[in-house]
């Protein structure tokens, strides 16, 4: 079956611009996560959705970052007034979140964002 997909694979933008990054989770997965990975670092949690609602957005670095998941499937990460420090790989993951406590996350290939 299809895995997690993310578009675009690469995004180059100028400082101050607005960008949207899209994530298509695995069908049937209710949980969706966004991570940011800077060079030489591991993925860093940004936000978690259970269904349509953001259950935990404690990882968002500031109010320029926002994410939505209006129908409980596709999610969009939105970054306003981009800064050079936002340049990173943005990863999306989804999981069944069956409530069993064991919750393996499956990652997409990521979107490489470069802010010039």
């Amino acid at each position: 079956g299809a895995g997690v997909s993310q578009t675009p694979s690469n995004k180059v933008t100028e400082k101050g611009k607005y960008v949207e990054l899209r994530c298509d989770p695995i069908s049937g997965h209710t949980a969706l996560y966004w991570y940011r990975q800077s060079l030489g670092q591991g993925p860093e949690f940004l936000i978690y959705f259970q269904g349509t609602g953001a259950a935990d957005d404690s990882g968002l670095p500031n109010d320029r970052f926002f994410a939505v998941r209006p129908e409980g499937s596709v999610s969009t990460l939105k970054i306003q007034r981009t800064e050079r420090g936002d340049s990173a790989m943005y990863l999306c993951a989804s999981s069944l979140k069956s409530g069993s406590g064991i919750d393996t996350q499956y990652f997409g290939p990521g979107t490489r964002l470069t802010v010039l």
Partner: protein, 112 residues
């Protein structure tokens, strides 16, 4: 503050030998641990996991060991194969929580 640490950024191993990748954590609330493997230009791929009620979990050539008292886990790959060359991340979470905390990764090179 890095709650999950992988202190070896890289490791080289001869094909057929054992690869041992290490990971330390600081948060005693963590009770679920995973290893992910990442190839260039791809997202991390789940490899193996272990919950804190166990001290070992094995899946084919991959075994994860958990030492709760030392807050340490390790991934053993035996025998190592060239296709195992990748970056390996360990991750941890508290089952009641939603966040997974990742280490900085270890780049494994298996030399043919």
């Amino acid at each position: 503050d890095q709650q999950v640490k992988q202190n070896s950024p890289s490791l080289s191993v001869q094909e057929g030998r054992i690869s041992i990748l290490n990971c330390d954590y600081t948060n005693s609330m963590f009770d679920y641990f995973l290893w992910y493997k990442k190839y260039p230009a791809e997202g991390p791929t789940f490899l193996i996991s272990i919950s804190s009620i166990k001290d070992k979990n094995e899946d084919g050539r991959f075994t994860v060991f958990l030492n709760k008292s030392a807050k340490h886990l390790s991934l053993h790959i035996v025998p190592s194969q060239p296709g195992d060359s990748a970056v390996y991340f360990c991750a941890a979470s508290a089952m009641a929580g939603n966040q997974f905390y990742f280490g900085t990764g270890t780049s494994l090179t298996v030399i043919p």
